[in-house]
Amino acid sequence: MGKNVDDLAQLKQFKEWFDNRHEYAKKWKKKTGGKVVGYYCTYVPEEILYAAGVLPVRILGSHEPESITRPYLHDMYCPFCHDTLAQGLEGRYDYLDGVTLAQSCLHMRQSYFSFVDRVPNIEWDYYLPFPHGVTNPYAADFAKHEFENFKAAVEDWLGVTITDRDLDRAIEVYNKNRELMTKVFEMRKADNPPITGLHAMYMVVSSQVVDKAEHNEVLEGFVEELQDVENDREIGTRLMLIGSEDYDKELFELIEYGMNYPATFVFEENCTGARYFWGLVENGDDRLMALAKRYVYRVPCPAKDWARGDFFGRRRFQFIEEVIKDYNVDAVIIAQMKFCDPHELDIPALREMLDNMGVTHLHLELDLTQPVGQFRTRVEAMIEAMGEEDLFI
């Protein structure tokens, strides 16, 4: 009899890190005496911080209703921005020494600027002008230039020199993390994937908030244990999630565990999923260029993915198309954060692409908390409709 994935110690550890991320960072700080820097977007080259002995942690929200951000952020900005700022204002990030943002959407910037100004414990902040034109051939050169400035600022702040050896060590740790998570995702191609979307979310998001070396140790064991996992759940409809910061466990619990019809996420194309870790740093003599290339050529965030002369397509869509085929995806859930312009701007074209591929899709608009009942009805209706086609044929 194979193992049950929910019983795996590693999965429990991911969940524990996810649930207690602030406690983890505080303990890490106490243990190492190091600095902790919060980062606002997955385009931050974490390796540079890590090479300097800093713990980078992704700033996340709590999905609890709040009203303290309204004086600072207009309500047309997305719930994620409000939620992250709220955490800072409520003192939940009182252990951070610094905060940084790699230039991303305007909403996130708003939250970041207010966070810098209004969270009293922030002693260092850095706005990194990461290129938006990741489809143009000069983006990597430009990103490298900005990474040089970023590195210099970190060195200046900490009074250290980040050597090539430091960077190599950091790149190695980060690449290993990426490789291992990719392996886990690869296993989800199977007819009976060993994990659900909820498990994947715990794994990926925990990697964003703990020391990657520590995460790797657990992850290695996880990859091994997963070989022996025997899933007793009914997989049902194979779903792909397309979205942004989707780390709301209620959403996964609802769709994968709370419906009358079985359904399982086999891939998450979002920045708390594959977009975060897909693609390695190909090491070369020029470390910063190697880093720049990884971040520029990774699966792009919709904020950075657009036509540019000789290239008319969207890189992200090409990736989505491949995933749908490779993972045998039956249906796509487009989980769009309310008011999120970058995603909304892609949705008409994305829907068209999915229609052309004959892939069923459903668009859900996420808020700080989700209308669970309504979502259940809609997802079930989608699955039912898919079944109807089968009946007819």
Binding site: Y72, N136, Y138, F142, H145, A349
Partner: protein
């Protein structure tokens, strides 16, 4: 005090240019010319090198025009919403997309033409989350129009360095080659050089005109400025636009000398920050007629197309002084590279509206300094749901201004969606605000 008021002599010249502009774009193909479309912030001198018969259609002013004609706008918005576009996206863009999707083109006077005249290519920039994606999807709606977007998000002007400029210049160099390819035309560097010089002249002239409005009484009110500033967004590299601004400068200067104002009773001066609710410009008229309140300046109208020194080198203070033209700076433009370098540098460094995306601090300084320099009694802020970039920082700015003893009123709306505006509520906000400041209604 009663002030002398005169209509602008050059009013019709500006109006006619706008009428011609939309017609020229429409009719370009009949004359064997080229049409291109893109953001009003596109580097418009660059396509100018393709010939003297090259006509642009800039999306934001087009979106504003569409919004002004409410009935057309609602049809356009509903058409594109049916295709899946979210209602909270950029209002200008939704009007534009809707217009393309309906296959109807709007002239400046509201005449509807069918079909929508497809551009030969789209050429845009990207700084907000929308710009490049606007034209990417428009190109798809148009059946695959070649599209090129230049990434300009390199950080604020006062932190500009050679590598940042170079990043943009290299993209512009590629754009020239690409334009040659998609149009089959040979590129003329002399035309480019002229266009780059014109661009700088237009933008700097408009900032000089804006500065003249510091006078009391103010020679211009914002409704007139809407008709004047837009040239910097339609085709600032056109020699005719330079001429229009030269004429306007002389006229405004003379109005200041003669004490000619915008309102007969200027009892209250305010500034604004965001694009106005285009379908409801009567807000301004209400303020003028009821309270003798004149909008003397705006971060939007002044910052969008003019060139200003902006933040000082340390990033501490905002300077509302016109930026130098190449001639004033002693910079010689002699070939393609030096022309592209200048237009990249000039826009990145001096275009006010490309600065405040990078921190709340910049927007706060920019706004407070405007209140001071234009001798405003208050600011009236439009919490504009139609543009996420212009609405950036607004609440933090409000807080900052209040702390600096500037009276602030805010009203909610949408620059380009007539369905998102509560007229009665806005007038109530204005009345309460004026009452709280002790400003009496005009007799």
């Amino acid at each position: 005090m009663e002030v002398k008021v005169r209509p602008f002599d050059c009013w019709d010249d500006f109006k006619n240019y706008r009428i011609e502009y939309y017609k020229n774009y429409l009719e370009a193909k009949d004359k064997g010319g080229i049409r291109w479309a893109g953001s009003a912030w596109s580097f418009d001198p660059v396509p100018a090198g393709l010939g003297e018969d090259v006509y642009p259609l800039t999306g934001e002013p087009y979106g504003a025009t569409a919004a002004f004609f409410r009935e057309f706008s609602v049809r356009a918005l509903e058409t594109i919403e049916r295709k899946g576009a979210a209602r909270d996206l950029c209002g200008y863009m939704r009007n534009y997309w809707g217009s393309v999707a309906m296959d109807k083109y709007l002239l400046a006077d509201g005449t509807e033409i069918e079909p929508f005249p497809k551009p030969d290519f789209n050429f845009t920039i990207h700084i907000c989350c929308t710009h490049a994606k606007w034209y990417h999807y428009a190109a798809e709606l148009e059946g695959g129009v070649p599209t090129y977007a230049v990434d300009i998000s390199v950080g604020p002007g006062y932190q500009l360095d050679d590598k940042k400029i170079e990043y943009v210049v290299r993209q512009l160099e590629d754009a020239v080659t690409w334009m040659e390819k998609v149009t089959g035309r040979e590129y003329d560097d002399e035309l480019l050089i002229k266009a780059v010089e014109n661009e700088a002249k237009s933008m700097t002239l408009w900032s000089k005109i804006c500065k003249l409005n510091q006078a009391v009484p103010a020679p211009m009110e914002e409704k007139s400025m809407f008709s004047f500033y837009v040239m910097t967004l339609l085709r600032r590299s056109d020699e005719k636009v330079v001429k229009l601004y030269e004429k306007l400068y002389d006229e405004v200067e003379s109005r200041v000398k003669r004490g000619i104002g915008a309102l007969t009773h200027e009892q209250f001066r305010f500034v604004t920050d965001n694009p106005p609710p285009w379908p409801f410009l009567k807000v301004y008229r209400y303020l003028e007629q009821t309270y003798g309140a004149v909008s003397v300046g705006s971060i939007y109208t002044f910052g969008l197309g003019a060139s200003w020194i902006g933040m000082d080198e340390k990033g501490e203070n905002w300077i509302w002084e016109p930026a130098p033209t190449p001639e004033e700076a002693g910079y010689e433009i002699h070939d393609r590279r030096s022309a592209l370098w200048w237009t990249a540098m000039f826009n990145l460094k001096y275009r006010a509206s490309w600065q405040h995306e990078y921190s709340h601090w910049i927007r706060k300084q920019e706004t407070l300094q405007m209140v001071k320099d234009w001798k405003a009694d208050a600011i009236i802020m439009h919490l504009n749901r139609g543009c996420e970039l212009w609405n950036m920082s607004t609440l933090e700015v409000r807080d900052y201004l209040v702390k600096n003893n500037v009276p602030v009123a805010t009203y909610e709306g949408n620059m380009a969606d007539p369905r998102e505006f509560d007229e009665a509520r806005t007038f109530n906000v204005i009345d309460s605000f004026m009452q709280s400041l002790g400003i009496e209604k005009l007799a």
